[in-house]
Subunit: 873 residues, 2 copies
């Protein structure tokens, strides 16, 4: 018979996929002798079975649960529902990959009208027992029975009002008993059933609720955001309760073994005396820094410091530890790898190498490439900060800088962001319902909650700037304003957040570019030593080229020439070229464009030095360069002296039904060879000039887009070669250049052997290749892609993450065929997937030589490339 339930002492930390992260670590801590309240874990397989069986807990699973419950009762000498010494448990979800705040937790399960008396007896605290029972009914009803929390709050408030009580802590046992009665009536009214009194029934209902919560909409959104596959399932941890709220020698807390924002090697966390665990995480009461525990309970603090060191050394990584102190005894409720900001991740990784705890390769595997994004975005300019109006100070919960307009609900932020606005989400405190708003916001500002509050944890995970616990601001979410003293900030006003300092500023503040220095630079150098994939950037201007070099790009993988055509000075000439009715007219216009194009290339070549530069010849359909509304056509007709009607007709004539599948790319050059001729001239003349004047040996790579048939490339290669060689021969300066092609049309991939005979390199244009392979265009997919995500047809937008199964197969075919006819062919990718770590990994595996991405993603690509070199060793 399959084992679906494991006692903590039966597992270990390697069993994550079966026991979930939390369960595996509870088992491990038990194994190495740390004080963990005993309990057991119901496996992820039980969860998957639950769904396979049509949302039923199988009898075999139920039996195993009760078996382990019995063992637990025996072990700690408590009994479920006992009136003298009742067993109470917590029931928590535990997914394989931690999903903070996403899953539901129930404390004090096992309480009923009988056992509450037993709890009173054993704790000698009747008030505590009835307060626990009240909390349990509320929590259970919310999570398991789906009765909204506010209905219970309402009863509580009414009781307080009637009895003129201000604080919850002032409620008497009788108050509590009457509340409990009202609670139970509410449950009866809402569910038409009594509140379940049988603890075993409570337990199974709770287990089922945890399983169900795996597929609640928040969990699904979180999984999509974090690329967690939906088939993993969650485990359920059932653990005997310890109480942090049993008076002043009890308490609860959360701590990181190092600072999760900066990486500093120093215990970082908070605690609250006389409180239950959820009070800290929820951010309702503001807790104290962990260091102060030394003053409160010196011995416990010392014990905790030792445990923290032991755990970090045991796991060889920074830990995030939850603990409870029950009447002076320390209990560990959880340890896990601590989430951290990108700069903390880098600093911890590099420090741990210095400390001899891990090696360089492990350090590289410790930093998620996508996380670097946080460090690669602009921060506030120091000069601007000096004169900025600082309006208040909060906790620096997640680093970075953000500027935007204020919005007070997740929905409003999502709406504003969808309209292209930069928005700051301002909340009293955030909750899991705010996730989508947090994703869409530039930054998050909360009035309540500490460094481990929901807002702080989630924002750090997202690499989003967050200032939390900013107590001075009075948030009025109904009227959409917040006040600081008498100053009012309305919806739509600009503010700026500094997540590194916690400062909040009025207005919007200019930002500056990030730098790759210190530990970041060191980690990047290690990555460069290890990776085999070259990293290039997509850059169309000298400015982009300089940025690319600064971030470590080893060349340009895609220099689009069409953007150069849109310059105000040039566009009239471009248009003249397009509407030309004869070769002669077209040549005249092209002659005028030549010096501009040459200048562009000189700038880029100078920026890149001897690094290779791949220039893509003109790609978009010509009508993209023409005006489309009547007024603009009229203006142009006057500008270039062409009759309005003639011009209008030309514009009409060039319109296409499916521009994506129309007269563009190399097809332009098959019909108008003189356009590419001009561009090749400009490239080669620029290379010659830079070589002559700066003594830099430029090796341009000329790339033809949209090839679908080998003969297209054969014809254009001849054109390029003839044009280039003529200029080179005249100049008497030797320029080595390469000719290659984009692989972005499925047929090109399928016939890559024939095409490689004319191409010295292939560059996969995976944007177009994805469009053609899936037969949908990016511009039009919006109408259905939402539904596709919702129905889980796509786990991820195929324009963001390479579709390895379909598009990837075409790439593999092209690589195989291309190498067959030209073994030394250079292979790269220049679609936007070139900056996505998982797609980079695929490129590495199929044997590409380089990836090319936007300049800001170059460090991400460098790190990702190093990680795949390690993983695929």
């Amino acid at each position: 018979m399959k084992k679906y339930v494991y006692a903590f002492h039966e597992g270990n930390k390697e069993m994550k996929s079966l026991l979930g992260g939390k369960g595996a670590n509870l088992a491990e801590m038990t194994k190495i002798g740390l004080p963990v309240p005993p309990g057991f874990t119901i496996t992820t397989e039980a969860c998957n079975k639950y769904y396979e069986d049509g949302k039923k807990i199988a009898e075999t699973v139920v039996n195993q649960i009760f078996e382990h419950l019995y063992i637990l009762e025996e072990k700690i000498h408590k009994k479920f529902g006992d009136t003298k010494n009742p067993l109470l448990v917590s029931v928590r979800s535990g997914a394989v990959i931690s999903m903070p705040g996403m899953m539901d937790t129930i404390l004090n399960l096992g309480l009923n009208d009988q056992s509450v008396m037993g709890l009173a007896l054993v704790t000698r605290n009747e008030r505590f027992a009835y307060d626990s029972y009240r909390r349990f009914i509320q929590m259970f009803s919310d999570v398991v029975l789906s009765i909204p929390k506010y209905k219970f709050d309402h009863i509580l408030e009414k009781e307080k009002e009637t009895n003129k009580i201000e604080l919850d802590t002032d409620l008497t046992v009788n108050n509590l008993k009457s509340i409990i009665k009202a609670y139970k009536n509410l449950v009866k009214k809402e569910t038409r059933k009594d509140f379940p009194q049988e603890p075993k029934e409570q337990l199974l209902m709770a287990v089922r609720a945890v399983f169900d919560s795996w597929n609640n909409s928040r969990a699904i959104v979180y999984r999509q955001l974090n690329d967690i596959p939906s088939h993993l399932g969650t485990a359920v941890n059932v653990q005997s309760m310890v109480f942090g709220n049993m008076g002043e020698t009890s308490g609860t807390g959360v701590a990181f073994t190092r600072n999760p924002a900066t990486g500093e090697k120093k215990l970082f966390g908070e605690f609250l005396m006389n409180a239950q665990g959820e009070d800290v995480v929820a951010g309702i009461r503001t807790p104290k820094p962990i260091a102060q525990l030394k003053n409160t309970m010196a011995k416990v603090y010392e014990q905790f410091v030792n445990v923290a060191n032991l755990l970090e050394n045991h796991y060889k990584d920074m830990q995030d530890i939850e603990f409870t102190i029950e009447k002076g005894n320390l209990y560990l409720l959880q340890t896990r790898t601590g989430k951290r900001t990108a700069s903390a991740a880098i600093n911890i990784a590099v420090d741990m190498v210095k400390e001899g705890i891990i090696d360089k390769e492990t350090a590289i595997m410790r930093v998620e490439p996508t996380q670097l994004d946080q460090l690669l975005h602009p921060t506030f300019e120091e000069a601007a900060i000096k004169v900025a109006e600082k309006i208040t100070q909060g906790l620096p919960a997640s680093p970075g800088a953000a500027t935007g307009r204020i919005y007070f609900s997740a929905n409003d932020v999502v709406k504003a962001a969808s309209e292209g606005e930069k928005a700051i989400l301002v909340r009293l405190e955030t909750s899991p319902e705010d996730i989508e708003g947090m994703v869409a916001a530039q930054g998050i500002l909360t009035a309540r909650g500490g460094m481990t509050s929901h807002a702080a944890v989630v924002a750090r995970g997202m690499g989003k700037c967050c200032v939390a616990g900013c107590g001075e601001i009075k948030v009025d979410e109904i009227n959409k304003v917040f006040k600081i003293d008498n100053k009012i900030f309305k919806e739509g006003d600009y503010i700026s957040l500094d997540g590194n300092t916690g400062s909040v500023y009025a207005g919007s503040i200019p930002t500056k570019e990030p730098e790759l220095t210190g530990n970041f630079g060191k980690l990047m150098n290690w990555a460069d030593e290890i990776r085999t994939l070259k990293i290039r950037a997509n850059a169309d201007t000298p400015k982009d080229a300089y940025t690319a070099v600064k971030f470590g790009a080893e060349g340009i993988g895609l220099c689009r020439t069409e953007h150069m055509f849109f310059d105000e000075e040039r566009i009239p000439v471009v248009r003249q070229m397009i509407i030309a009715k004869s070769l002669e007219e077209r040549m005249t216009a092209l002659d005028k464009l030549l010096p501009f194009q040459k200048k562009d290339f000189i700038g880029i070549f100078e920026a890149m030095g001897e690094r290779p530069v791949t220039v893509r010849l003109l790609d978009p359909p010509l009508h993209e360069f023409l005006p489309h509304n009547d007024e603009d056509i009229k203006t142009l007709s006057e500008q270039i002296g062409v009759e309005y009607k003639v011009l209008k007709d030309t514009v009409e004539e060039l319109k296409e039904f499916n521009p994506m599948l129309g007269h563009r790319g190399c097809r332009l050059a098959i019909t108008y060879p003189e356009i590419y001729k001009m561009q090749v001239k400009a490239i080669i003349m620029a290379a010659i000039e830079v070589k002559k004047e700066k003594n830099i040996d430029i090796k341009p790579e000329i790339m033809v887009p949209l090839i679908g048939h080998e003969k297209e490339l054969k014809i254009l290669k001849e054109l390029i070669t003839n044009t280039a060689n003529e200029i080179i021969n005249e100049s008497e300066i030797k320029i080595e250049y390469k000719i290659g092609t984009m692989i972005e049309v499925p047929r090109a991939a399928l016939t890559a052997d024939a095409i490689a005979r004319h191409a010295e390199f292939f560059s996969f244009g995976t944007n177009d290749l994805t469009q053609m392979t899936y037969a949908f265009s990016r511009d039009d997919a919006g109408k259905f892609i939402g539904e596709y995500r919702k129905k889980e047809i796509f786990e991820k937008d195929p324009f963001q993450r390479l579709d390895q199964i379909g598009v990837g197969k075409l790439m593999e075919i092209a690589v195989d065929l291309g190498k067959k006819s030209r073994p030394d062919i250079k292979l790269g990718i220049c679609g936007e997937h070139g900056g996505d770590p998982e797609s980079i990994n695929f490129c590495h595996k199929i044997g590409l030589n380089y990836v090319s991405c936007s300049p800001y993603r170059v460090p991400i690509a460098r790190l990702a490339a190093a990680r795949c070199a390690i993983q695929n060793k």
Copy 2:
């Protein structure tokens, strides 16, 4: 050393690809002892070498030519340029596949100022000798030196005028000498060189001209039309001259061993006494029927009949024979497989099986499937013919019926046809320059020329209706009119041609459907016995379905449902469905559409009986059903009671950048499942009703379009199954149905293993698959595809003939993967390629179960399928 030149006695009929068709047959006739004037053939390899060497005849080739020239001189005791007994030769092209009228011929080569006297001496006919010399200069100058013929005609006319001579035959020797002098002056003036006097130089120049003519634009057009690859090259035949113009015991002629229009077993041809070969083919003088040769020269006639029988039995096929009689001696200048109309091809093939000459398989291989097209188009209705106004009678040169407007030049026909008009090309006589006009015309009418004239031969090859040699009509090409007696027909007037009788009618005449009876039916039955590929038809209406069955379709491979939506009664409801703002509104509209759709399917199912019917669910983007201009939107808004602005906004909202890559196909059903639900309901309800009422066991095949991801099909399969089974269960009538998908998105082909898990059949939608694989849309490719054909990037439009290398590779991948996960998967094709014989052959080879094409092409597909079964045995 490679052999580039073969004497006739060195070759045989199997050496076609080396010696060309003409050369191989001259060799064969020599071999079997027939009277062939000796000569030699320069191979196609020499032609290819000529192009490889940059249009130079290699020295080794030149040497071999002169060697064989020497052998020829020795053999027939004549010498090149001799003043007593000069060798004269003809130089003719000879491609592997016959290309009538396309290549150039030179007669009497070897004549110069000296040898002309030798010719006079040996023939004892000074006038004949100088006339031959005159003709030679003119022909050589035209073909080799590119001096326009009319300049020579001008000299000739002037000489006649000056000397008041009416007929060419009345020119004296002195006249001829003075013409020759003027001709030579003209050559000197035009080329700045003397007319070449050295016969060997003449020979090499002529050979080069033949090679060059392989790539003249007419030849290229012909090759494209007839799918002849351009790498084949042409051979050159050099043959000693015999003269049909040496008086009344000399003559020349052309004859077919059977009637090439009807297939009747009877010598069919023409001859002219005292004429050279080109006089017959050119159609300038009207020749006599071959049967009359019996009266003119009984013995020669008898000899010719014997030769004709011998050749037909030798080649086991109908022969097209050219002969010359020189002073009572019969010489054979050419034999080749005779071109024939489709009905002649069928009759000859079936007759020859009856005669025991060939077997059934050979008979099937003798009829080109595409040729059947001629028989599958409507002919005139007999009733209409009876009352039609017959205006004149010509020769029934190529069968079929044609109605259209009169045009007098190839260009005008091409223009009219491109505007969608039906055009009849009316010419005095046609010439190779008219080819493109002949392609575009419905039919051809000529005033001059016989059954073997250019117009007749080419029209039969094309399967185009042609009435030739219609002497009564007076064509005035300048003023664009023709007259019959006093009746005038202007450009743009309608006439009708009957190619089977040669009758010409005024006005346009209604036509009737063809039938598959007699020999045609017999051949089709043989084809059905042999083929393994099933043939289905694409049919959307009961009418189409009946036609399909009549032509032998074994099912419907593609029944498009969207055309049903455009019906006048339905389109308002369809539009209501589209603009519905809620599911409820949409359902109301769909409920109204259901009975219509059900009725459609009942009609089609009844027509098809128990043959399988594949119904494709809705495919096009919804905006195709909406009006697009403001006025139509206004009308619709009144019709359906929706505010104009709302409707206009909906139309705008639904517009797409690239509709081909947009919200269509199965994507519609992912977002609006209720549309497919309604369609499935209609299909199943129709099947039940027909089964119940007519006791026909309907097995519908439900096909989902545009699948790109297996999950799309998984979701929709569930929807279809649930919907269908619910109705079937309710009705208690068992309906077996299949669910499958189009493979028309590259990704579907690449992931066919996953998709096949949910699909019982695949149908390749090669129209879309070609668009996606090549990344160009049919609608937009027009702007560059002409240039692509011209530059020979495409040998054939990939929308007409399947691109086996690219699109075909995707199909092979899909077949392999599909069979891997479902070995018994049914595979078909429903793109337009399903009616193209070469594409059908490919489908057979990769293992498809059926092809589906338009009803009218079903017999073509049946024959093509039989041919590939034979070829791939």
